[in-house]
Assembly symmetry: C2
């Protein structure tokens, strides 16, 4: 059971931008790529998604870059993950239109799995980006080392 | 977020064998392949795993086949899923030895994700194969149609 790299990296971008709050200079994709040693290509798509979802705002041109568009307390980890995961098709029959399994009309597994998924998200919904930023001084130091 | 097909099919095999309890004739891989319209190849590995884990017992030769080795009430859905999933590496840094991310020493995400995963499994641990077999008459009918 895994989350996508897209989710993983989206959370990392938000953590990075969270530690930069209050700084005059906007963060760039290069800053984030250096801080995490990950490719700019991955990051471009992620930044686009996070901007579209209203988590960050971006400015083009010289001196341009990005910053959080909301307070970290207002960014729910659960909501971010729901938006970045492609689907929550835990088993085959959860996929749209997939009715291959012969016992679908009687199977008790889907409601059990849905309850488990709901419990998973209840935990993540109880956390915000602010919780991820508590060790801020340490995070800042680690980003500096890159 | 997905479970592997291996998990999905393992649960299906257990459900099938559960509905066959009390029948004199042992179930064969062909029976299960026909009931679910899935390939024998997949099933062979799954049956091997389920036998190794002590959920089913198999007999070779003429009249051979398999059946549940335990009462359905004693087969926890959570335990089955823990045994069939390769890993629960929700994010990159959960993978053994993967220390690529620069903020690992300070990151608050792993404990949050672990709590969410624990909540997920608490739900599945509260269910047994017996719960999946409640609509038994309906399941038997669906298997007959194949």
């Amino acid at each position: 059971m895994r989350l996508t790299n897209f989710t993983d990296y989206s959370l990392r971008v938000l953590i990075y931008l969270g530690t930069r709050r209050g700084e005059a200079r906007l963060a760039t994709i290069d800053d984030i790529a250096t801080a995490y040693r990950i490719s700019r290509n991955h990051l471009t798509k992620i930044v686009h998604h996070l901007a579209k979802e209203g988590y960050i705002e971006t400015t083009r041109g010289k001196g341009g870059g990005m910053r959080l568009a909301r307070a970290p307390e207002e960014i729910s980890v659960g909501t971010v993950v729901r938006g970045t995961e492609e689907d929550f098709a835990l088993v085959e029959c959860f996929q749209d239109g997939n009715l291959d399994c012969s016992i679908i009309p009687a199977c008790a597994l889907p409601p059990f799995l849905n309850r488990a998924l709901a419990a998973f998200f209840r935990e993540l919904d109880s956390r915000t980006l602010a919780d991820l930023l508590r060790p801020r001084a340490q995070l800042v130091q680690l980003f500096r080392r890159g």
